[in-house]
């Protein structure tokens, strides 16, 4: 029976392809693929149906299916195109086969349906697998990219290091932050670390806990942490949640935090020329160059 069915499909493949194309074109109008050019759509349909027919004949290797799915994935066509296409194919093929059989009772219908299913199923499975593999690949790439961005550490001066945090902090990221922070403190010989949470949208008890743990660990290494970038709404949530940050210096902006860090490390910023002097110079020398005279220099006191 199975072989017969296969033969029937192969014999009538022209009719099947025709009906299938008609159906699939109907789908196009009301559906996702409406912005794809007719030509490309036609071409891919042709290929798709060939792939189906080949793999039903048993002549098409799995490579054929794989090549096709690779191309569809590369074009960014949705998975539903594939599944719809195969469902339509099943329906069309069933119709045509049932037309060939003179006497249709429930048994033959049942058997035809089951056999068609067994023919179409492997293709569906393989195509869906290809799709999910490609998705997982994308997701894992994105995760790596995200991790690279998740805990940068910037040594701005001798002994002062800044870690700007952006985005929500979950447990996994908090762990990563802590590791990076501690390694960075050792590597850069940092005395003060500024943790900037300007870009952290929500600070709940869990985030606070993680931050607190990180700062405590930094203290054990022998460096100081300053928490900066605390926005008004963050301050409100912290107090409302009853989180105690009292033994951790906090500042509203990175600038203020940096000043505190300079104080701790016994440093100060000294302006070499003040503005009025620069102005005098400019007025005195009409040919005065436009170079920046406002050099600031860092001095260790």
């Amino acid at each position: 029976m199975n072989r017969d069915l296969r033969n029937i499909i192969i014999e009538h493949n022209d009719a099947i392809i025709q009906n299938w194309s008609k159906e699939i074109n109907k789908l196009k109008e009301q559906n996702y693929t409406s912005d794809i050019s007719d030509e490309l759509y036609e071409h891919n349909n042709q290929e798709f149906v060939n792939v189906i027919i080949h793999s039903i004949k048993g002549t098409g290797s799995t490579k054929l299916v794989k090549d096709f799915s690779d191309r569809i994935i590369q074009l960014g066509w949705p998975l539903s195109y594939i599944t719809d296409g195969l469902l339509v194919f099943r329906r069309v093929a069933t119709n045509i086969i049932l037309k060939q059989v003179d006497h249709v009772d429930s048994n033959t219908a049942n058997e035809v349906l089951r056999n068609i299913d067994s023919l179409v199923e492997p293709i569906i499975r393989q195509l869906v697998n290809e799709y999910s593999v490609s998705w997982e690949h994308v997701v894992s790439l994105q995760r790596i990219a995200l991790q690279e961005l998740s805990a940068p550490l910037i040594p701005v001066m001798d002994n002062i290091t800044i870690m700007p945090l952006i985005g929500t902090i979950d447990t996994e990221r908090a762990k990563f932050i802590m590791e990076n922070l501690l390694d960075g403190v050792m590597r850069h010989n940092a005395e003060v670390v500024l943790i900037d949470i300007t870009g952290v949208p929500v600070v709940d008890t869990m985030v606070a806990h993680h931050l607190f743990q990180a700062t405590e660990a930094v203290r054990l290494l022998g460096a100081k942490c300053i928490l900066v970038g605390i926005r008004p709404e963050i301050a409100q949530t912290i107090v409302n949640l009853g989180i105690n940050f009292s033994n951790l210096p906090t500042k509203s902006t990175l600038k203020k935090g940096f000043m505190l860090a300079l104080e701790i490390t016994n440093k100060s910023i000294v302006e070499m020329n003040n503005k009025s002097q620069t102005l005098d110079e400019l007025l005195g020398k009409s040919t005065g160059s436009e170079e920046d005279h406002e050099n600031t220099d860092l001095k260790t006191t």
Binding site: D183, L221, G222
Partner: protein, 118 residues
Amino acid sequence: MRIPILKLHNYLLISIQTELDDQTAINFQEDLLREIHTTEATGVVIDLTSVEVIDSFIAKVLGDVVSMSDLMGAKVVLTGIQPAVAMTLIELGIHLQNVPTALDLEQGLLKLHQEMGE
């Protein structure tokens, strides 16, 4: 196994280079206190750079040593705690709240000097 305690002016330097077991830690505590007593040292630096594991008991002993030395008039600074060690301690909930720390021996000595200079 005894841990050597070195005297430098009125400081004591200890570099712990073995894995601390409970008995060694207790011996160390006694030795150090005796040494502080005999040398009348005013500052102690305990360097933990080569220590890779600190369990809760060792942490408690270290915390105790700091408080005890404080009582005897010697300031203690722990230096060179490794990132992994710090992380485990924090995860165990051991915060060593009253223990001064520094990044390395040099900064530890500076810190002692600052605290005692004033």
